[in-house]
Symmetry: C2
Subunit: 150 residues, 2 copies
DNA sequence: TTGATACTGAGACTTAGTCTCATATTCAAG
DNA sequence: CTTGAATATGAGACTAAGTCTCAGTATCAA
């Protein structure tokens, strides 16, 4: 099976782009990163390897375009990405208090979604399905120590 | 039935906040706006009425909190809001080419979503469900004049 | 009417991201 | 190997969207 690195090489070659050291650093770091990350975290991680902010963002765009990475959440002006390798398609629950992200898979939702697109003659490229609320732990916390009244 | 203005007044009173002229201007403009808008459009519209950017954003937060407005889409770092009055809950298809927004209602998706939350013991507050792709018109346009090869 | 409380605009500040440009790397052809 | 045209790079200027501060102003309950 094709490794992410091989896939990236193929993608670059096919677009007549070059396989450079900074690009490889971004690839490695992005795929090794904790499962969900924001661009600026990547920028911070890569400063150690002397990769500039500009290059991180430029490479991020390539990884997105090549399908190795996916933007999965966007809240409050923050974009969150995750590597595509391995896991089946899924969506996310986002805890508004602790930021925890829970992944869930639901083929029936996907199927209904596709039916909607067919109905509108809409060619789907991607989708963002995120549910915001409070995870079990934070619900409990709030029950014990509710925000004190103004 | 309660008008948006009455709802807003009640909301403010209950929080010991004041009903001011700038706030009313923001309310009116936000509700009268084209169905979907970005904060900066509101800022521009309200400059004529001498309402500052800071006040627009501050009031936007209140309108969101009071439920009169809802954030419905977030793409590319742009937040899009819409007034809540009138329409039943719905989600959105967003055309990546022309920016067109199509609304769709699908109770079965909503039901499945709630089931997911129950399974994870997650207290849902809101959700963002947007499908990105190409609308009928833009698909046709691209078929006629495809992007020329590099 | 009044004064405590809350609100306001101006503009400084922040954060995330993009752009430019002079210099450095890559890689296909020789 | 070399080489050189094409592409990539880092530094840092720039932008856009939003937040914050603060001195002066408006609101509203008593």
């Amino acid at each position: 099976m094709e490794t992410p690195r091989q896939a990236f090489e193929a993608f670059l070659r096919q677009k007549h782009l070059k396989l450079t050291q900074p690009r490889l650093s971004v690839l490695d770091t992005a795929l090794a990163a904790r499962r969900h990350f924001e661009p600026e975290e990547l920028v911070a991680d890569l400063r150690a390897k002397a990769v500039s902010r500009a290059t991180v963002y430029r490479t991020l765009a390539l990884l997105l375009e090549s399908g190795l990475l996916k933007e999965v959440i966007e809240t409050n002006g923050h974009r969150i990405y995750e590597p595509m390798h391995g896991l089946p398609h899924h969506d996310h629950l986002v805890c508004l208090e602790c930021g925890k992200i829970i992944e869930f898979v639901n083929p029936r939702i996907e199927a209904l979604q596709e039916a909607v697109c067919r109905r509108f003659d809409f060619r789907i490229v991607s989708h963002l399905h995120q549910i915001m609320g409070y995870c079990r732990k934070c619900q409990r916390k709030n029950a014990v120590a509710p925000r004190r009244p103004a």
